[in-house]
Symmetry: C2
Subunit: 306 residues, 2 copies
């Protein structure tokens, strides 16, 4: 990784983690404002914290913060938005890891939420994080203008919902039984992972009430970067190790599922990922050097080892 | 049921169902606006429709519509809000019925979503309905004032989230292993079912930008009505039949879980439910005859057979 990107991502991850900690304290007052020292709902909060605060690259929050810098958005507003999108990402991992879904025991090198707690708590922890993300966005602390907060809620719901991430996960289930071609695989990945990258990259433009052409530039960036990210993910599933990635590898090939690597071959997939990273960078031309970190992210996601 | 309430609830359920049908069409354009005739995400939309459109009393939507009438709220706004809260209620049933949770095969006299489809699709259908509810609320069609839409998103997220319904479901899991007393059982039910009734009853006051004392009156109503509803539910679990309720009965007693009936005895529980229904009605005194349907609902939930 480029040293300055490395440092910028680490700083961003630390700042976002601090806000996520504050938003997910270990004990919460109930609806009546009473703080119970060991309430029966405590395992839910513990599981939400375990699923959300246990590390990860915090790539989506980084996109939010870098996008926010382009429009001189207040850092506190950007951090709350970054935390919300990471809550949604973490909820999706918790549900995706369930026995009913991917049945994964390992995530970020640790037991998955349903292994650490149980299946029922994992369902609820995901539901809780998803719901809480919208509460965070709709709060006046996220932006003084309610129209901006509504735009954030709308954009996140569309990116995460049935026309976005959840729809992509449904396609992914079908892809286990049906041979998908390149167009179908591309459409699947745009929904499953691309839509949330798109929200993250556009979040600064929403918070900064930027012009439509800025939204379009960031959407173009996120689309190319998201596909590059997924191709790299498919390459890691073939060529990576569990030790390096912190999660099981070789799952797609074992399931006979179409991936960019199975469809294109490893070499062509690698070339395509590089092309897409360059394309992502070119989309950011209007922002000049202010977007250098975002351009570097597109290169990073292609070259990462985990 | 009181004949006029019967008719009002049936009319409300029909109107809300029509809006829910429109919001959940059988085929949806993708993010690029393309309508696929048989897209791989189709089973998700089918499962969402199956879980949301298959009947039910539509009690929460009725509360929204009746609350909206008190403040002369536009019917279209009230119907969209009613649909959103019903999507959240239906998502909670889909997840609650999962093998990892209550493991129920029957709901409203039909196979539950995970029996009709599969466990993975049921997880995603619940996630999709929950996310979509916030998209519906944040849309300008729900209210022209973004501050009102944000207030709806905040109130629904708080009612449905970890400090509300999801937290109540977590308490419910703990209650299967720990003997809860009356105070704990009351707190559990306020979170698990009361919070969403509270949102529904207050929704009209939010849409109508009503005074704080109106919010308080409706909150008092929903709190007493919700507890009366739950006591009646516990009585039905002991005294009802699967044929009448459309879902399995005797589950709580079999699980050894504390209920209002096990804690108070059936006779005292019945008396308490009647007292609470009367208390709910008295909370609505400031609204006079305009709140007669809401008062009748509180009596109805105590006397219902399903």
């Amino acid at each position: 990784m480029h040293p300055s990107l490395d440092q910028a991502m680490a700083e961003s991850a630390e700042r976002v983690a601090a806000v996520m900690h504050t938003l997910l304290p270990g004990l919460r007052p109930d609806a009546a404002g009473v703080l119970h020292t060991s309430p029966p709902e405590a395992p839910l909060w513990e599981a939400m914290r375990y699923g959300a605060l246990g590390g990860g690259k915090r790539l989506r929050p980084f996109l939010v913060l870098e996008s926010a810098k382009l429009f001189a958005v207040d850092l506190g507003q950007a951090l709350r938005t970054a935390a919300a999108v990471e809550f949604v990402h973490c909820y999706s991992l918790i549900h995706d890891d369930l026995p009913a879904m991917d049945n994964s025991d390992l995530r970020r090198g640790k037991p998955t939420v349903h292994k650490q707690f149980d299946d029922a708590i994992a369902v609820l922890a995901g539901d809780g994080l998803l719901t809480y993300a919208f509460e965070v966005l709709a709060d006046a602390e996220t932006h003084p203008d309610a129209a901006v907060r509504c735009a954030l809620v709308t954009a996140l719901a569309q990116a995460a919902g049935p026309a976005g991430m959840v729809g992509g996960q449904m396609m992914d289930l079908v892809a286990e039984r049906t041979p998908f071609d390149l167009a179908e695989t591309t459409r699947l990945q745009r929904a499953k992972t691309g839509a949330l990258f798109g929200f993250s990259a556009r979040a600064g433009a929403i918070l900064g009430q930027a012009a439509e052409r800025d939204h379009q530039a960031l959407t173009g960036y996120a689309d190319a970067m998201g596909l590059a990210f997924q191709i790299a993910d498919d390459l890691l599933d073939v060529e990576g190790t569990e030790a390096a990635t912190g999660k099981p590898v070789g799952r797609d090939a074992a399931a006979g599922k179409a991936t960019f690597v199975s469809l294109l071959g490893a070499d062509a997939a690698r070339r395509r990922a590089t092309e897409l990273a360059d394309e992502a960078g070119r989309s950011l031309a209007p922002f000049g050097a202010a977007a250098d970190n975002l351009k570097a992210v597109a290169q990073y996601v292609v070259n990462r080892q985990s």
